[in-house]
Amino acid sequence: MTLLTDHDTVTLVRLLKMAYPHEAFPDGPYERTAQAVLAAVAGAPRQLAQLIQGLHDLDELREVPFAELDDDTALTVLRGIHEAAFFKNVRGVAVVALYDDHEVWDLLGYEGPSFDKGGYVDRGFNDLDWLPEPKISIEEASA
């Protein structure tokens, strides 16, 4: 991956934070997602070439490098290039990698594998208490 610099990785992480902004997310999931993007293009020369060019282009679109833009400006820049092949490729990997990250699962309130813990039969599969208990069968007489 010597063709991409540390600066490119910084730009990519910033791109991911702007494309998938979550106030509650720390840097870790975005950094891991950036690594997933880099791993995905490592074996795909065309996509790697597009990524190299695309990250470079992002730095040229305003007076300051992309990673230093304020959030609103960065989002505007991304909207301007949303059809770019490299950005589509990045999103294709990121939407899978970011939300498959177990730290992200915790942050979103998802509990992950459950079978080995006995499922949810005794752990709240029916613990919603802000609505009445509904009927579970059709009463044919009243239908």
Binding site: Y99, F115, I136
Partner: protein, 522 residues
């Protein structure tokens, strides 16, 4: 496991081990008929499955290359993945959710019911509900459908509580946690569900009916089953009289093998089944085996589907518990005053964040997208499944420009939405949103169709050979010992999830084939 000789020509060869093939094989074995099942995928079992959506998808899904065309949105969102079905022993019964509604009487007679609809190739089934009812009973007993034949209902889970309360408040009355073929209590040597929420991912516990845990083990006990995983059928051979004689398949090493057969039954799901018949073209059958009508691959249906999500200011945790143990039947009625033919069901559905992110709004990103994700825990979900119109040009063809790992042309799946499909989908989306808004949703989200899990109609049943591929027993009009045994047979798709009907037809077909064996002396 029994092993029959490749030259044994008294066996039935069944291609595919899912709802159709797996059930048919068991029913044939129970009747003493030696049966070879060729399954393209590996033999995974409960301990192999992952409680993880992407790992499970990578492990189970049929991801061999396919292509798409047509105006359907899937051709844009998931152009190489038209269907979300399984390549493994048990087929897509290892992925299905478990909903088992029956077809309604008029849904077997759509031509008579709706007359002519522009652009649609409507045809009545050659069989009626009355004829199928005894087999529906057998299928429901076999599958342990909840609410029926003494099986208790599933309890209400969190996702269902939102769904059912919303249904009640908009005036729906026909809603319940089933019928649903997963055990609420132990039944048929299978345990009660632990409500783990991973029945799309194989169901590690085996409380859900599948051919993997129910039909194939029973078939094996008869000593009449020879189940061959990693065996991908590539061609059906025939003799000069036009009778099927053998199936060529590749084994796990990629070696081409031949299994002779007295009867061949194809149950590869509604994309692979027509593909195999088309790949079996010969001098005698230049357009593909059993395709003198030109109907093989046509009239592809995939149900009119969509998903509606409701997001609340309180937790739902939809992922806990049985995924699809909730069904609203009210909109499945015959009522063309709604502006469309056919009906639809609303059923609970849940995805984990990994799949929710990929499917909630494909291709989107930015703050709107992530606000959907931030409310994940507080989200309730429902799936819409309704009848779509058969259309002659919605079809599976061979794409000679793209080859799979065996060098075989892949299937291209062409689909254009019919205006009736669009009208139904829009109606269902509005109704789904109303259900969630009735219990205080702060936002609703409408999600376009996923890759198709219900693939139907590509070798349809017809009274007249010119109108379809198989007869009232699923026997090819052109080839007397060739049967189609999966959802490809469906003359129309109805609103109901298809598995129950596939199983009922397989039981009926096994009875017919066994009768033929007896009549001709086995």
């Amino acid at each position: 496991m029994s092993r029959f000789d490749a030259d044994d020509d008294d066996v039935v060869v069944v291609v595919g081990s899912g709802a159709g093939g797996g059930t048919l094989a068991n029913e044939l074995c129970q009747r003493g008929i030696r049966t070879v099942v060729l399954e393209a995928g590996p033999h995974l079992t409960g301990k192999d499955y992952h409680n993880d959506e992407w790992q499970a998808f990578s492990q189970m899904a049929w991801t061999d290359p396919r292509t798409t065309s047509g105006s359907w949105r899937l051709a844009t969102d998931f152009p190489t993945l038209p269907a979300w079905i399984v390549k493994a022993v048990g087929g897509t019964t290892t992925h299905w959710a478990g909903a088992t509604p029956r077809f309604k009487e008029h849904e077997f007679r759509i031509r008579s019911t709706y007359s002519d609809i522009d652009g649609a190739s409507l045809l009545d089934w050659p069989i009626t509900l009355t004829e199928l009812e005894p087999y529906y009973d057998q299928a429901e007993v076999k599958m342990g459908s909840s609410h029926l034949h003494g099986r208790p209902p599933l309890p209400a889970n969190n996702n269902y509580k939102v769904f059912a309360n919303g249904a009640e408040r908009v005036g729906y009355r026909r809603y319940a946690t089933g019928p649903y073929a997963t055990n609420a209590e132990p039944y048929d040597d299978r345990p009660a569900t632990v409500q783990d929420g991973f029945n799309f991912q194989g169901d590690k516990g085996g409380s859900k009916w599948s051919t993997l845990v129910a039909e194939l083990p029973k078939a094996e006990k008869t000593g009449k089953l020879d189940l061959r995983p990693d065996s991908h059928a590539v061609q059906i051979l025939h003799d000069t009289r036009g009778r099927a004689t053998a199936v060529l398949y590749t084994d796990s090493e990629g070696t081409l093998r031949r299994q002779r057969a007295r009867v061949v039954c194809v149950a590869g799901n509604s994309i692979e089944t027509p593909r195999l018949l088309l790949l079996s073209a010969s001098a005698l059958f230049p357009a593909g085996l059993g395709n003198s009508s030109g109907q093989v691959g046509r009239n592809y249906m995939r149900h009119t589907t969509a998903t509606v999500w409701g997001q609340y200011d309180q937790p739902v945790r939809m992922y806990r518990g049985e995924t699809m143990a909730g069904c609203i039947q009210d909109e499945s009625r015959l009522d063309t005053s709604r502006g469309f033919a056919g009906g639809y069901y609303m059923q609970t559905i849940a995805l984990g964040p990994a799949f929710f992110a990929s499917f909630v709004a494909p291709g989107t990103w930015g703050p709107d997208f992530t606000s959907h994700m931030d409310a994940y825990r507080d989200t309730a979900g429902m799936w819409i499944v309704g009848e779509d119109m058969p259309q002659a040009d919605n079809r599976v063809t061979l794409n000679d420009g793209v080859l799979d790992q065996h060098g075989l042309p892949v299937a291209n799946v062409h689909f254009d939405d019919h205006p009736n499909d669009v009208a139904m989908r829009e109606h269902a989306q509005r109704q789904g949103q109303a259900v969630y808004e009735a219990v205080g949703a702060k936002r609703t989200i409408v999600t376009p169709p996923y890759p198709s899990t219900h693939n139907l109609g590509t070798c349809r049943m017809s009274e007249r050979p010119v109108d379809g591929v198989v007869d009232r027993h699923g026997r090819a009009h052109d080839v007397p010992n060739l049967f189609v045994s999966d959802g490809s047979q469906f003359t129309s798709g109805a609103a109901a999830n298809p598995t129950l009907t596939i199983v009922a037809l397989a039981i009926r077909q096994a009875e017919y084939i066994a009768g033929e064996y007896r009549r001709q002396g086995a």
